[in-house]
Symmetry: C3
Subunit: 354 residues, 3 copies
């Protein structure tokens, strides 16, 4: 990518692109001056000269007239209200995402293996990979070209990191973890630790079921900071291509998350859950019940919902209650514990009246 | 253990055991060929020749007839339907757990102290312990024989790691943490960081209460990845023998978790909570209220429940609501905020009718 | 601080202070013997000779008569019932906090840069800072005097750590993170990783919005273990002065947390949330809804509450339900899904009766 190479040569000067270049890159049309130089993205309300912003949602339309941006990515319908140069596309948010990535700036890391890294002689590191300080790599692990492993990350035996994978500082991979091309694992995440399975004896003492599987992560996956994904008991835990997982998500052993799904912060999936393709689990959703849960494709679950059983139809789901003042909440929460009784009282009343 | 020694000599060949050997090990009876070689565990539905499976739950009984396993661990009652060799025991799940452990395969680690480790001269490391690369050990810490401390883990001052403890990569122990024999702490967990106690002044500025206690963890405890257990304010936070804690659990200062309890993923215990022996807190349970909470022995709490007060009788508890389609959920959640009023309306109706 | 210096010279002997010294330090009055030596804090019920305790809450008043403490910090009103030396103040809990800090004992760390640390030549480390083993520091990062960076922590490019900041073992800072004076970041926390923003294309494939902002953390902030705070998309995520954040808290990109607020364990804030000053979010509170949420100053939210919309008036808020026995809970939870219908049934009854 031209922009990224630019970072080495220009050092601390911001990278700049002409609006025309950006339009070509995202397949849009310039209305205004295609030669104007863009030095970075900005929000519609906060952008200043040299920045490009976007109008993707009707809720922000009133901010368009007064934007200080040098260009705005927008739909044809919004062109009339645009006070500055426009980059017209069908999907402004997606185009803005692609444009913004030109200024993405991963921390620097030298090519080759840092002298303080401890790489097992049985590991195979491509010479175009970058292995940072104090990184530890176990036997029989393969690291492809373009991979970046940042400081103090640890990789166990028999792992495979495909092209351009990024493993950020202090992340940990146990044994038998495969990461597909371009996948990113953020700091202090742990992939492949033992699943949670115990069998009690007659006295309630707990004996561990050995966890012998691995974790297979597809291509273009992102895994946030402080997230944990356990290895399977026998087969692998699987995260399919294009899945995006936020921070502090917990994924139990033998789960499968379908391609292009979004798993937001603090979600927990109990072991053996399957989530379909193109799903969205919003923040703090908890999935788990009496038996393994399957969520079908194209399901959206809103935040802080307990998914207690399988979902077999696409759509939007929710649960829980909404915050309230402490006092009325307490009265209502106590009444909740007698809700079944209330239903029966109403039924009795209805009978009497009939 | 014979099986584990085997790993060094046989290298990449799977360890194998005769079914007769396994039966002896778990005190069961072979029905079929005791000489058949077993090379690993498998699920009833997925096992192939050379694998051993188990039938522990009636729900899986229909999978028995078509299993590809070379042997199945089961109860006498299920023997009639078994199409292959059987290992008959009273508690198949427990026997399967013990058998599966023969193939457990902790990451390799060389004996002795890795040259890159930084061990304080005032620490005492037994020569039969294994200290991995970039491990840091503080003063006055004692490490017993058989202990394995994996790469980049950090151990503070005045800790004690008893026989065969395993501290996985990137885990952190603060000062004054004691881990009993055979206890495992998974990666990126933190034990002994400061409890959360603050006193406001007249202007609402918060002054920290110094946290001066430690953490005492018993024997045979397992602590998952990304879990945090705070040190006590004055006395120690205590985790008793045989407790199993999953990933991303948060245990506040001065908690005590009773022996042989299971704490599942994402559970949070507010400071000074006590959990009894043989309890099960399922995923995302939150324990905390106006005052310190005590949960007695033999309590099971199902997932995503808020335990807002003490539980004084054994049994199974639950809370929260169940997921629903977004639209009906929203209507019901708004009605919840007027539930107390509804009770009063029904009471008035009842009076009128009487 | 005198007490802290004492640790070096006296080694393993406890530091001691006369009660008179303590009174001077917190601006209180001694009733009893000001010369008595105090060697540490204790709880009212558990303290022994040489320890100082406090009576801050009426609930503990019955423990005063039998305390074994050598001194008790209390209000004038409670003086009559005190069987030992008293330190009389207006705010005993706050005075106890300040006194307890005299025995605070951060893990030892040598002055200067440990030889195993990897500090970029473009970083600037003050000679009165302490950089521990295997620490990695990126280019253009500035570290002020008195800063302590413990073992295996990693600091990205362009960070700034002001006077007396403590970064504990295995913590990770990405690029562009500023930490104000005296701020503490506990182990395995991650500050500055990428915010979670994705734009779908027409086929539901997710394209990342580049995250280009940083994180600005004020002075006297505490950030617990395993906590994650994402960098802003364009502007910084901001944590103001004096905020105290517990373990395993997740703070999304572009959030702002107001000065002197308390964020307890396992709280999650979706991106672009603002929390006011002097707020308290108790454990496992989840904040997130259809649009960005603002919580005004002086709001307290009790544990395990879902804040689904903005809060514009100070006060105490709550949500969720309370645990119950499994069977009645299940009946009630199923009824909840027909609550709106019940309201309508009651309304019909009321009409009929009128």
């Amino acid at each position: 990518m031209r922009g990224r190479e630019g970072v080495d040569s220009r050092q601390n000067r911001p990278r700049a692109f002409s609006l025309g270049e950006l339009a070509e890159r995202v397949g849009g049309e310039v209305v205004g001056d295609p030669a104007i130089e863009i030095e970075g993205p900005g929000s519609l309300a906060g952008a200043r000269a040299g920045q490009i912003s976007h109008l993707s949602h009707a809720a922000y339309r009133d901010k368009l007239a007064t934007t200080g941006a040098s260009a705005v990515i927008l739909r044809p319908d919004d062109l009339a209200g645009c006070p500055t140069n426009a980059l017209v596309v069908a999907n402004p948010y997606h185009a803005f995402a692609r444009v913004s990535q030109l200024w993405d700036d991963p921390p620097p890391l030298n090519r080759g293996i840092h002298p303080s890294a401890d790489v097992h002689p049985g590991a195979s590191i491509h010479q175009a990979a970058r292995i940072g300080p104090n990184v530890v790599v176990g036997p029989d692990t393969e690291v492809a070209p373009g991979v970046r492993v940042y400081a103090n990350a640890v990789i166990g035996p028999r792992c495979r990191l495909d092209e351009d994978v990024r493993l950020m500082a202090n992340a940990t991979l146990y044994a038998d973890v495969k990461l597909g091309a371009r996948t990113v694992v953020h700091s202090n995440s742990v992939i492949g630790s033992d699943g949670f399975g115990y069998a009690p004896d007659a006295n309630g003492r707990l004996e561990a079921i050995a966890q012998l599987g691995g974790v297979t992560v597809g291509r273009d996956v992102s895994i946030g900071s402080g997230t944990t994904i356990d290895r399977g008991a026998i087969d692998d835990t699987v995260i399919e291509d294009g899945v995006k997982i936020d921070n502090q998500v917990q994924i139990g052993h033998n789960c499968r998350v379908g391609a292009h799904s979004l798993i937001c912060g603090c979600v927990g999936l109990v072991g053996s859950t399957t989530v379909g393709r193109h799903c969205v689990l919003a923040g703090m959703v908890g999935v788990g019940g009496d038996r393994p849960i399957d969520i079908c494709d194209h399901v959206t679950v809103s935040g802080v919902t307990h998914v207690a059983g399988s979902i077999t139809e696409p759509g939007t789901y929710a649960g829980g209650t909404i915050h309230d003042r402490m006092r009325p909440w307490k009265r209502n929460a106590l009444r909740f514990q007698r809700l079944d009784e209330l239903f029966k009282r109403v039924t009795r009343l209805e009978r009497k009246i009939r």
